[in-house]
């Protein structure tokens, strides 16, 4: 540590946080359960409403149609969720800044069109097409960031302009053909439709993930204990790991009855996990939350605020474009309707339903994962019971309103209990 002018610290002191007796102590499994109850009561709901929501959705549609929870339908839900989910991950980033990107749908459609034209019509290598499509999104995001930071146009307006402009550009790129079909034998289509982890690989992956989680947690406990800081108990970590192993193991077993974990699904989940680590563990992530919480404070503490905005907008563009490529892969076609309204609203709604605050600074990468599962699950259920698409829109709207209402009520509880 850098300071030398200060008096030597009193290392005989008890654990650092024990100096204040007002602080409730949570030790062991029971303590963890108490802490969880207290958090929920104080309005810090976290991901709880979404998880409860998923159970309710599953139950309701199961009662309508027993095949809803079948392995094959769940595999379809996971596959269908991927393109929306990847776009929603990007939306989380701009929402954390307290900004918005309304054009993620248009960017996804444009990216899909560019890749399809290059690969299918002009016979360019697939990698080149993918890079061009994804790169377009990143460049658009950088442009948004520059316009936002240098000129000061609100992100709502910039991206509304982008929403319109890039639909037009998509029409230009597609030309007279209107629709371009990607051959089902293309590796891109295979990746999103046909490639699945073999059962053996999937079980090994589950074990590796859980062991990695447990090891990282135990190393964390040891480092914190060595530094005289409070740490979660070993029992709790082992308990969590066991629950994780059982949960993931069962899910894997159940999905493996049908096709199992799709490559695209694994890619999406890995993306969420990586982004979560980036947000929580890196200075960039910390600065993103800081800018979303109080821009002026962030600027005064020496954070390059413009860089945070530009990098976040460009990542959102990149992820929106990647989502567009996944749509191309999953649907094996791109048309003038690709990336229209439905995509935009679903991706933004997914992030919000997953618990990302529209006012910035609050939310996590997992919000995108859970939010998109909720919307895809509802969509799948409504399709199965054969309702009109009008009903689907209405239900999606109602769920969005419900989710934001829960968040608003929880925010009031947080304010009164001082959880910010």
């Amino acid at each position: 540590m850098s300071t030398t002018r200060t008096a030597p610290t009193d290392e005989t002191a008890a654990r650092a946080d024990l100096i204040d007796e007002r602080l409730a102590q949570d030790t062991g499994l029971r303590g963890a359960a108490d802490a969880f109850r207290r958090r929920v009561r104080d309005g810090d709901l976290g991901l709880l409403p979404v998880v409860v929501g998923l159970f309710v959705i599953g139950l309701v549609f199961y009662l309508q149609d027993v095949t809803y929870l079948s392995s094959s339908n769940l595999v379809n839900i996971t596959l269908n969720a991927v393109p929306y989910g990847i776009i929603a991950v990007g939306v989380v980033l701009v929402l954390l800044l307290g900004e918005i990107d309304l054009s993620v749908g248009s960017i996804s459609g444009l990216a899909g069109s560019i890749t399809a034209v290059l690969v299918v019509q002009q016979g360019q290598p697939l990698v080149l097409g993918l890079l061009a499509g994804a790169g377009t999104g990143a460049v658009i995001g950088i442009a948004y960031g520059l316009i936002f930071t240098k000129i000061g146009v609100p992100s709502f307006v910039i991206t509304l302009a982008g929403l319109l402009g890039f639909v037009g550009l998509q029409y230009v790129v597609l030309g007279d053909t209107g629709t371009i079909n990607l051959p089902r034998t293309s590796p891109l289509a295979q990746f999103a439709r046909e490639d699945f982890l073999s059962p053996a690989v999937s079980y090994v992956a589950v074990v590796v993930v859980v062991v990695a989680y447990a090891l990282v947690s135990i190393i964390g406990i040891r480092r914190r204990t060595a530094a005289g800081l409070p740490a979660q108990s070993l029992t709790l970590v082992l308990g969590k790991s066991a629950i994780m192993l059982a949960g993931l193991g069962f899910l894997t077993y159940y999905l493996n009855i049908d096709r199992g974990w799709g490559f695209a699904v694994v890619f999406f989940v890995a993306l969420v996990v990586v982004l979560d680590l980036v947000l929580r563990k890196t200075t960039w992530g910390r600065h993103l939350y800081a800018v979303g919480g109080n821009v002026e404070a962030a600027r005064r503490s020496g954070i390059n605020v413009n860089w945070i905005y530009i990098s976040a907008f460009s990542l959102t563009g990149l992820l929106a474009a990647t989502g567009g490529l996944m749509f191309l892969a999953r649907l094996t076609s791109v048309s003038q309707a690709s990336g229209s309204n439905d995509v935009n609203l679903t991706a933004i709604a997914a992030a919000v339903i997953g618990g990302v605050s529209l006012f910035g600074g609050r939310g996590s990468a997992y919000s995108a994962l859970l939010g998109v599962l909720v919307l895809t699950a509802i969509n799948s259920g409504l399709n199965r019971i054969g309702v009109d698409s009008s009903v689907r829109y209405i239900v999606t709207g109602a769920v969005l309103l419900l989710a934001v209402s829960i968040d608003a009520i929880a925010r009031r509880a947080r304010a009164s209990s001082g959880r910010g």
């Binding site: 650092a16 946080d17 007002r22 404070a297 962030a298 954070i303 001082g418 910010g420």
Partner: protein, 278 residues
Amino acid sequence: MSVATHESGSPAQTTEPVLELTGIGKHFGAVQALAGVDFRVHPGEVVALVGDNGAGKSTLVKIMSGVYQADSGRMRVEGREVHVHSPSAAQSLGIATVFQDLALCDNLDVVGNLFLGSELGSNAWMDEVAMEKESWRLLRELGAKIPTVRIPVASLSGGQRQTVAIARSLVGSPKVVMLDEPTAALGVAQTAEVLNLVERLREQNLGVVLISHNMADVQAVADRIVVLRLGRNEAEFRTVDVTTEQLVAAITGASDNVVAERHARRVPPATETGEVEA
């Protein structure tokens, strides 16, 4: 305008100023916020910057902390001329500022706020354990009563938030700490704690700039008092030489006010040393 100088003989004066500004000017549109302002602070010295509303205190602080850039004048850190383009430039020069609004991120926890912009760790990866440990050390040093460093600062009281803001200014091992109205929102005991803290900063041989409206606080801890009025240097006093009445007279600019007249009648002229017309 009369500039009173009472400054010879203070122990801090024998050293080179750690921060020195000369002839600082700044205008906002037609408003001349600062004109030809001189200011300096030595290591181990607490300099109070006082003045009425609109005197230019906050503008001067923001220039020193890199939030604004001066239109004219020069700034030197440890004798070396510097140009402070940004708050981060000021920080890297060793000038730390605790703003009146504290500039905390309510959604981040105490550790996150303390190390915001200067996170510990290797490359982009943050070392939370080191930061949390250092947070407790800093807070203990200030005798802070913070229940846990892992709650969002939104849930802390006014005094606790002030403490976090002051602790944060110490993170980068600064040479100069500027405190903008640190006691304005605090209770009696918390004010005393902050004043103790100011003295501890002085003991650590830091230059401390204290901006305050509260004459009692200023006279309790400052070594030297610089009075700004309408964007200019009005007067400068050693705290031991000055009475509250003289300070008030300098701040309000009414040297012929009733308070000053009464004071002049009571005090023999011989002790009024150094009152020089500039």
